[in-house]
């Protein structure tokens, strides 16, 4: 009995996610579609061909980074709502580097560009971390505000400094060829690049960092119990700044897949709310990096799957993805929904004691 309860608690996020997904898909009945058909379209469109799978993996990549970003901040007790702005900054730095230093040799150029992504995001993330640690102002509001400031900065750099005058779209000049990552050929032309491998490596790195290093341990201690961490000699302001810098750097890595691996330039508004979906990814992974990979894949598949709804159904569109994401977040985050489970547990126990 007890072990069943523990398993139920462990599986909660998954049960909740399924609940949210079914509710969301059920809603499509409102639009006069058969939910079963919608599910079939989703699955086929996400996994049906090498190209489809490739696109799913292409969307999974940024979600791994933003999911890790939110999760790592969360491990230090912080809410990073700013991944959206941080990922734009990372991508922008990489693009600017690729434009202003076209002469870098082919083997160091991508490395430098990856570092630019990390630094761009980390610098942007460290600011709200610093404001929280030193000025006490809440990181949630600051990261939200910085998302808008980031959009402004990107827009300025794109439109006024490195504008690509050839096209009509707001985008920068292309980066030099040496920076561009080659795409894997086995996905029918889907832009799956080394960024995916990097994402997996970084994911593993985050896990190792938290489990095996002093800094990771200290960061996690602050998130778990700030006063106990302080009492043990850890400086919580330092850890807060570090955690937000790491979160920013992780989000910044989204630029690798986009700028180096796909568009080869910075396109304004390239992110389909990846920063916000990262919150859902991290939440489903219970705020820990371990579960981010499968969770990101699920949301990547949703993102790709819903894309085909536009022409495979009459009334349901790709916006269903947003609804599904929202419902998953809501059902996973609502602690109180599970009270009944605890109550059942308590009743069982007191019942036993009485008999």
């Amino acid at each position: 009995m007890a072990s069943l309860k523990i398993w139920l608690i462990r599986l909660r996020p998954i049960i909740a996610a399924l609940l949210g997904l079914s509710l969301g898909i059920g809603i499509t009945a409102l639009a006069g579609e058969s939910p079963a058909h919608v599910v079939a379209v989703l699955v086929k469109s996400a996994l049906g061909s090498p190209y489809d799978l490739g696109m799913t993996l292409f969307y999974t990549t940024p979600l791994v980074f933003t999911g890790l970003s939110v999760a790592m901040a969360f491990q230090c007790g912080l809410f990073n709502i700013g991944a959206e702005g941080q990922l734009a900054m990372g991508a922008l730095w990489a693009a600017v580097l690729g434009i202003v230093m076209p002469g870098l040799p082919g083997f160091v150029a991508p490395v430098f560009a990856v570092l630019a992504c990390i630094l761009g995001g980390a610098a942007w993330g460290a600011i709200p971390g610093w404001l929280r640690a030193k000025r006490g102002s809440h990181e949630v509001i600051n990261t939200i505000m910085m998302n808008f400031v980031s959009a402004g900065v990107c827009s300025y750099v794109t439109l006024y400094v490195f504008r690509n005058t050839e096209g009509q779209n707001p985008e920068t000049l292309p980066i030099a060829a040496a920076y561009q990552l080659s795409q894997f050929s086995s996905f029918g032309g889907a832009p799956v690049s080394w960024a995916l491998i990097l994402a997996v490596l970084v994911w593993a790195g985050c896990i190792v960092f938290l489990r095996k290093t002093r800094l990771g341990f200290q960061l996690m201690s602050v998130g778990e119990n700030e006063s106990a961490a302080e009492a043990s000699g850890i400086s919580s302001p330092k850890m807060r700044i570090l955690a937000m810098a790491i979160a920013g750097g992780l989000a910044g890595l989204v630029g690798v897949g986009e700028v180096l691996g796909n568009a080869h330039k910075f396109k304004m508004g390239f992110s389909a709310d990846f920063g916000f979906i990262g919150i859902a990814v991290a939440l489903l992974a219970r705020g820990r990096p371990e579960g981010v990979l499968p969770s990101a894949f699920l949301f990547g598949a949703l993102h790709k799957g819903t894309a085909d709804l536009d022409f495979e159904t009459t009334h349901v569109t790709r916006e269903l993805a947003l609804i599904l994401q929202a419902l998953v977040i809501l059902s996973v985050s609502a602690d109180g929904l599970w009270d009944w489970m605890n109550r059942i547990g308590v009743k069982k126990r007191t019942g036993k004691a009485a008999s």
């Binding site: 489990r211 095996k212 290093t213 002093r214 800094l215 778990e224 043990s232 000699g233």
Partner: protein, 519 residues
């Protein structure tokens, strides 16, 4: 004629019985004291009276009729008022708005009729001689006046029966006198007052009758004139948990106690000179010119009722560079002036810390034992090299520690939060002793710990002293202080008010000192 009779009230939280068959009566128009140590069940009883908790059994009788409260609102309308230890005030609002919350008189359009209310309140405050500036914000007035707001709040709601929870804890002596004058005034007007405190001298000064709580039960119900500070101290702290290592007169041999060898030639483990702490906005210093030395191979015990500056003293030792924890004075540890040190640097001097609140400051409850064992030890090369944690080494030391300190269950992957209080404490002690500290600060080491573990912990502390460490022991358990300490200091109201050598003092005498008496 009784204002309230409490009959057989029982309230349990899980396995912990906070109130066990509590029975006492309060006479109308009297001031009635409730005394007892922290955790004796006073606050629970008051929350039951005020409708914040529902009793498991027993009843509250008012005016001869048994009453039941669904919410505090029921208790309020029956004429019960309460001043909580943490004031129920909003700092950003005015005195007037705080006073009228929930009972606002309105005029046309639902507008609060502040003019009329102001008149009523002025009349009320004059009647009871408690002047107040109604338009000041709560954040702008001193604590003593904030308390007055709380008292007037009760009066404005027509309370006849008033409960004050630790009303003097945050007041200066002058403010306490003022409060007592006000309370006597209220009594003259026929109000009934129930005052909860652990300051015995104050109980003697103001109450008509006293009920003593101990371990969730009523230990005595007496006329104040028939008792004394000594008698109350006896009942409060007297014959209780019988420690295997002895009560007031521990057998030294049993603890392997050897008389303190003249360690005076060595540098003291801890030396505090003129330590003071006055926080901005507070009128009373939390710490007041504390002088204190702990020599190597010595246990110095600090006795005192909680809330008299012990926590602040510990925080000052570990956060000396933070003005929130220290405003004046000098602290040296193992011969080093630690003024500019942070906690990390202090602990690296070879200092251990067993905090008073293990859940808050000692443990990561949601993490496993191995992570908890590593907490604060990451600077030891044995456990952490070049930034990488050596879990094998951590696990080995932890297993050894769990063996030595008998931490159960012997599962290094168990969550700290799942351990019993005693095992949690033993884990912390295993951790803090693992690096063989030269100076150890121990606060309430056996709180919430089962009797078997208490003896074990005590032996360990004595053993550490025998190895040459200096230990500062802070405890509200007198038996513990008496059994372990080579010297005993008594803290009261932020000051050290007495010092005794081992064997010079007994629990009675200490109890009186702890209550602020001159005995």
């Amino acid at each position: 004629m009784f204002a309230i009779q409490v009959q057989g009230l029982t309230k349990a939280f899980g396995d912990c019985v906070a109130n066990d068959q509590v029975t006492f009566s309060v006479k109308k128009g009297s001031i009635h004291g409730i005394v007892g140590e922290n955790g004796a069940g006073k606050s629970t009883a008051m929350k039951l009276l005020y409708g914040l908790y529902k009793p498991d059994s027993g009843s509250i009788v008012m005016d001869g009729k048994p009453r039941q409260w669904r919410t505090p609102a029921d208790a309020i309308s029956a004429g019960i008022g309460m001043v909580h230890q943490h004031f129920m005030l909003s700092e950003t609002e005015t005195v007037l708005d705080n006073l009228i919350l929930g009972v606002e008189k309105t005029a046309a359009l639902g507008k609060i009729n502040r003019k009329q209310i102001e008149k009523d309140l002025m009349a009320l405050s004059q009647k009871y001689r408690m002047p107040l500036n109604l338009s000041a914000r709560i954040s702008e007035i001193p604590v003593g006046l904030q308390q007055r707001v709380e008292i007037l709040k009760m009066l404005y709601r027509g309370a006849e029966f008033m409960i004050l929870d630790e009303p003097t804890a945050v007041l200066t002596p002058q403010e306490i006198e003022e409060l007592f004058r006000n309370l006597l005034e209220l009594k003259k007007e026929g109000k009934t007052i129930l005052i909860i405190t652990h300051k015995l001298r104050e109980v003697m000064a103001i109450t008509d009758r006293v009920t003593v709580f101990r371990a969730g039960k009523v230990e005595g119900d007496l006329e104040t004139k028939d008792t004394s500070v000594q008698d109350l101290a006896d009942r409060m702290v007297g014959r209780r948990v019988h420690l295997t290592i002895g009560g007031d007169h521990p057998e030294d041999s049993k603890l392997g106690h050897t008389p303190r060898s003249g360690g005076g030639s060595l540098r003291p483990a801890l030396e505090i000179k003129g330590l003071g702490l006055l926080r901005p906005g507070e009128s009373k210093p939390r710490l007041d010119s504390i002088h204190l030395t702990v020599s190597p191979k010595e246990i110095v015990g600090i006795a005192g009722v909680e809330g008299n500056g012990q926590s602040e003293l510990i925080q000052a030792i570990f956060h000396p560079n933070n003005p929130r924890h220290r405003s004046s004075g000098q602290i040296s540890i193992l011969g080093q002036d630690i003024q500019a040190f942070d906690t990390q640097a202090i602990k690296e001097l070879g200092v251990g810390w067993i905090p008073e609140d293990r859940h808050k400051e000692g443990l990561l409850l949601q993490k496993s034992l191995r992570e908890n064992f590593l907490l604060g030890q990451t600077r030891r090369e044995q456990f952490c090299k070049n930034g990488w944690i050596r879990w094998n080494s951590v696990d080995a030391s932890l297993k050894q520690g769990m063996e030595d300190f008998d931490v159960r269950p012997r599962n290094i992957h168990a969550l700290a939060g799942g351990l019993s209080g005693g095992n949690q404490q033993k884990l912390i002690i295993a951790r803090e002793l693992d690096r063989r500290p030269n100076f150890l600060v121990v606060a309430q080491p056996t709180r919430g710990v089962d009797v078997g573990a208490i003896e074990f912990i005590h032996r360990r502390l004595v053993g550490l002293r025998e190895e040459g460490a200096g230990i500062l022991l802070i405890s509200s358990e007198l038996d513990e202080i008496l059994a372990l300490s080579d010297r005993i200091l008594v803290m009261y109201s932020g000051k050290i008010v007495a010092e005794f050598a081992r064997g010079e003092v007994d629990a009675m005498k200490l109890g009186v000192k702890m209550g602020g008496g001159h005995g």
